[in-house]
């Protein structure tokens, strides 16, 4: 028995940012250190994701309670992990996976929410016992960087400013339009710019008479803190996107910044194309009219190309549906050398699926959501597989978050270079940015920040 030997594991039911129950775990070590972490929950959960456990009891929280998952932590998991050396994180996660024993490693028996909460809390406990910041602990003990560098990179925030798709009630087919403060020289500067643009948005919500303005619909509609914008009728799918991009540009300009190649901000899209994929083709422009147009994969790719030609779009996430491998091939062929193509639903933070994708040469980046796979070591494995194959790995939140900031530390530990954690509003999102500000202060000169992190994918474009 040493100071790192697990003394107690404890679980509790708390609430996430949407007011729904989620799991929090505490791991305490013989040496006295205590680690605490809570887990997020996604709005849409893909078929190949780890499965969270929800109580079937409709009398509590409409059947969303997590008392059963919590009981697994307080019984089985506690029993198996007690006495375990918390620094051997791989073995700790492995012990829980063995205990779970569900097929396809779905963690459905214990609940991925129970397993992940303990996995994360264990890392927090070890870090505290070692008197290390969590990101340092992760770098030293879990993430084996190929070049063993101790240089840290602070991530470029991908801020979800405009909501569409399943996240909003407007005509926009794509789920998110994001702003990337690419021209900022430091991480704090990037956030300062984001704050000014956010406040510039707020000032547009009311007209000069103090009445709600016509184009700027209510804000906060999205769980991720972004804005929703009303789009005039009959603009069609192309017109809608262009209208939104023009308003976005206008607000950025009003805040004193610019969007463009040499400008302060670049744009990213999250199409979430699986949401409008139907029977081999894509249904666009039907959200208000009810009469969608049916587009082929090739037509959608051509539209993306046109957008990339005309706007400073540097990254597209889930541009194609998860089942449309043919579409993904066309997309990667046409745009893979010019911009970042991110697979979210496509790869589901799954090492096997990612390896397959790499073999077929689709996309060039992966979105990493820790709760899609369910343990810290597996999530970091996904990052390493990506990085070894020259795919970028972006650390991401979920729509249902908590005040927990573990993903900020993960992003820094693995030098992800980018983080996706919503707009700069709602503390479930802002807490992650605030944590990164503290890390940035702590690291000082030991950390770098690169706004043009995704540009190396496009050597042909550099003059």
């Amino acid at each position: 028995m040493n100071a790192f030997s697990i003394h107690e594991v404890f679980g509790r039911e708390i609430l996430d940012s949407r007011g729904h129950p989620t799991v929090e775990a505490e791991v305490s070590l013989a040496g006295g250190a205590v680690g605490r972490a809570s887990v997020p929950s996604g709005a849409s959960t893909g078929s190949r994701e780890a499965i969270e456990l929800r109580d079937k009891d409709s009398e509590r929280y409409g059947g969303r309670g997590v008392l059963e998952a919590v009981a697994h932590i307080n019984d089985d998991i506690q029993r198996v992990l007690r006495g375990h050396d918390a620094r051997d994180h791989k073995a700790l996660d492995r012990a829980m996976m063995d205990l779970d024993g569900s097929k396809d490693n779905s963690k459905s028996r214990l609940g991925a929410n129970a397993v992940l909460a303990v996995s994360l809390a264990g890392a927090h406990a070890s870090a505290a016992q070692l008197r290390l910041s969590l990101y340092e602990y992760l770098r030293k003990y879990i993430y084996a960087r190929p070049d063993h560098t101790d240089a840290y990179v602070l991530p470029l925030p991908m801020l979800n400013f405009i909501n569409g798709g399943a996240h909003a009630h407007n005509a926009l087919d794509f789920q998110e339009v994001l702003l990337l403060p690419r021209g900022a020289r430091t991480f704090p500067e990037a956030l300062e710019w984001a704050s000014r643009v956010y406040l510039s948005f707020l000032s547009r919500l009311r007209d000069q008479h103090g009445e709600p303005s016509t184009n700027f619909a209510s804000y906060g509609v999205g769980d991720e803190g972004g804005f929703s914008i009303r789009v005039p009728q009959g603009m069609g799918p192309n017109g809608t996107v262009e209208f939104i991009l023009s308003i976005l540009t206008e607000v950025v300009t009003q805040a004193g910044y610019s969007v463009g190649r040499d400008g302060s901000f670049a744009i990213a899209l999250d199409a979430a194309a699986s949401e409008f994929f139907d029977d081999g083709s894509y249904l666009l422009g039907g959200r208000q009219s009810g009469k969608p147009e049916r587009w082929s994969s090739a037509k959608l790719v051509a539209f993306y190309e046109e957008l990339v030609d005309n706007y400073e779009i540097v990254s597209i996430e889930d541009g194609m549906a998860e089942g449309d491998e043919h579409g993904w091939k066309i997309l990667t062929e046409r745009l893979g050398q010019r911009i970042q193509l991110v697979g979210d639903d496509l790869f589901a933070t799954n090492p096997e699926i990612l390896r397959e994708g790499i073999r077929s040469g689709i996309a060039n980046a992966v979105l990493v959501k820790v709760n899609q796979i369910g343990t810290l070591t597996e999530a970091i494995d996904v990052v390493q597989i990506a990085q070894q194959n020259e795919y970028r790995a972006i650390i991401s939140h979920r729509s249902g978050e908590t005040e927990d900031t573990t993903i900020s530390d993960i992003a820094v530990a693995v030098n992800a270079g980018q983080i996706k954690t919503g707009c700069l509003s709602r503390a479930d999102r802002v807490a992650k940015y605030n944590r990164l500000l503290r890390i940035s202060r702590e690291l000082g000169d030991r950390a770098t920040f690169r706004g043009d992190v995704m540009v190396p994918a496009a050597p042909a474009l550099v003059p």
Binding site: G220, E401, V430, R438
Partner: protein, 420 residues
């Protein structure tokens, strides 16, 4: 040893993207304490006031940093707070002065308290001058947001619920969450568009002939949500209304909905009385603005036995908290507007001993800091307002209360019974 070895000021952001001040104080022992300033609407009503405030608070802390803070020894929180008060007495602006005191006192208190989950609660509970009861506050949850925290025509700031029938904190939080989500479903069924306001409540438009019919419609919708979640209004759940009347002031009267006519202060008194007869209302917060305090004693008398009147913005127009009782039954306690921890404790204790119901409160532009949860529990305040069930700046406070509720001694005593 509890001697301050370093002081660090930094910028972090609030839930509505506004820069705010974070103060970190380290002790020679290596312990670290952090405090983050939540913001209220008046702190940022124009961009200029926002940046000015931010700069002033930073400057004032800088000014006392080398001279007072570095090397200062913290024997007791009360003694240290007196020192801080003494050294900040010259700050003219009352709001800035309170914020400086709050930050320095809380950061130093946190450093002394240690970083465990119960640390701050235990520390606050050990500061002399408070009641010795160990009771958790009953949460008051915002369902509908209006006024300046929303962009709808509804100018009343908040319609809230108090789970008065819940027998434990965990049950009260669950009732709050279930009713909140039930309201989402009801609005969806009504085909009513809504958004989430700054304080986590839902913002939506209600239409009607006049203010009372619109308010009744909104309250009926809340009752419908309570029943749909299978709770009984009045028995399990009561209502509370924050008029934030100074923001509805218009032409010597009040306009509760942008489309309604202007009502005289006497009409508001009649409105509150009428609402309290038709609905199970626990309290009316700031039903009138500071310019109409003379109407308050009559309102209080007319509502006696049915609902309370609570002063928030009104407090500045009233005298000391102890004297507010002649005009109101309760007061809102926002420690960041009061000053040091000792001053906040003193404020709440004075109010309680004068028979005033003290209600701790979050701010509209808040952060993930959970101080208000620890404070309200350590002080055994009857209620805490922490907003709607959305956004971790609100939920983090409820989560901290859930953690505190696990403690044996807390579990033994039930949640406060606050029947009016």
């Amino acid at each position: 040893m509890n001697r301050i070895s370093s002081v660090h000021l930094a910028t972090v952001y609030t839930s509505t993207s506004r820069p705010t001040v974070e103060l970190t104080i380290a002790l020679e022992s290596g312990a670290i304490g952090r405090a983050c300033l939540p913001l209220g609407y008046t702190d940022y009503s124009t961009p200029a006031t926002g940046s000015l405030l931010y700069q002033r608070v930073q400057d004032e802390i800088h000014a006392i940093c080398a001279r007072v803070l570095l090397g200062a020894k913290i024997n007791t929180q009360n003694e240290f707070d007196r020192l801080i008060c003494d050294k900040t007495d010259a700050i003219q602006n009352e709001s800035i002065r309170a914020k400086v005191r709050f930050l320095v006192s809380l950061a130093s208190g946190r450093a002394c308290a240690g970083s465990s989950t119960m640390g701050l609660y235990d520390y606050l509970a050990s500061i002399p001058g408070k009641s010795t009861a160990h009771r958790l506050p009953r949460p008051i949850i915002t369902l509908i947001s209006g006024g300046r925290v929303a962009t709808t025509s509804f100018r009343v700031q908040a319609l809230m619920i108090a789970p008065t029938g819940a027998s434990s904190l965990a049950e009260a939080v669950r009732v709050g969450s279930e009713v909140y989500h039930s309201l989402h479903e009801i609005l969806d069924q009504h085909g009513q568009d809504y958004a989430i306001g700054d304080e986590g409540g839902l913002c939506t438009d209600f239409h009607g002939r006049d203010a009372i019919s619109i308010l009744s419609l909104a309250l009926d919708t809340v009752l419908e949500a309570i029943r749909a979640a299978r709770y009984e209004p009045g028995k399990d759940v009561k209502l509370a209304i924050d008029f934030a009347a100074s923001n509805c002031a218009a032409d010597g009267g009040y306009q509760l909905v942008t489309t309604s006519s202007i009502q005289a202060p006497g009409d508001i008194v009649a409105l509150c009385v009428a609402l309290s007869r038709s609905y199970p209302i626990l309290f009316f917060e700031d039903p009138l603005a500071g310019s109409h305090v003379e109407y308050l004693p009559a309102l209080k008398a007319k509502l006696a036995g049915t609902a309370l009147t609570v002063a928030d913005d009104l407090l500045s127009a009233l005298a000391a908290p102890g004297e507010a009782r002649y005009s109101c039954d309760g007061v809102i306690v926002m420690p960041d507007r009061i000053g040091t921890l000792s001053q906040a404790i003193d404020f709440a204790t004075t109010a309680a001993s004068a028979g005033c119901t003290a209600i701790a409160s979050h701010r509209s532009s808040d952060t993930e800091d959970t101080f208000i949860a620890d404070f309200s529990a350590a002080m055994s305040l009857p209620f805490v307002k922490a907003g709607g069930m959305s956004g971790s700046e609100r939920i983090a406070k409820y989560n901290q209360l859930l953690r505190l509720a696990e403690r044996r001694k807390m579990a033994e005593s039930s949640l406060q019974n606050n029947e009016v």
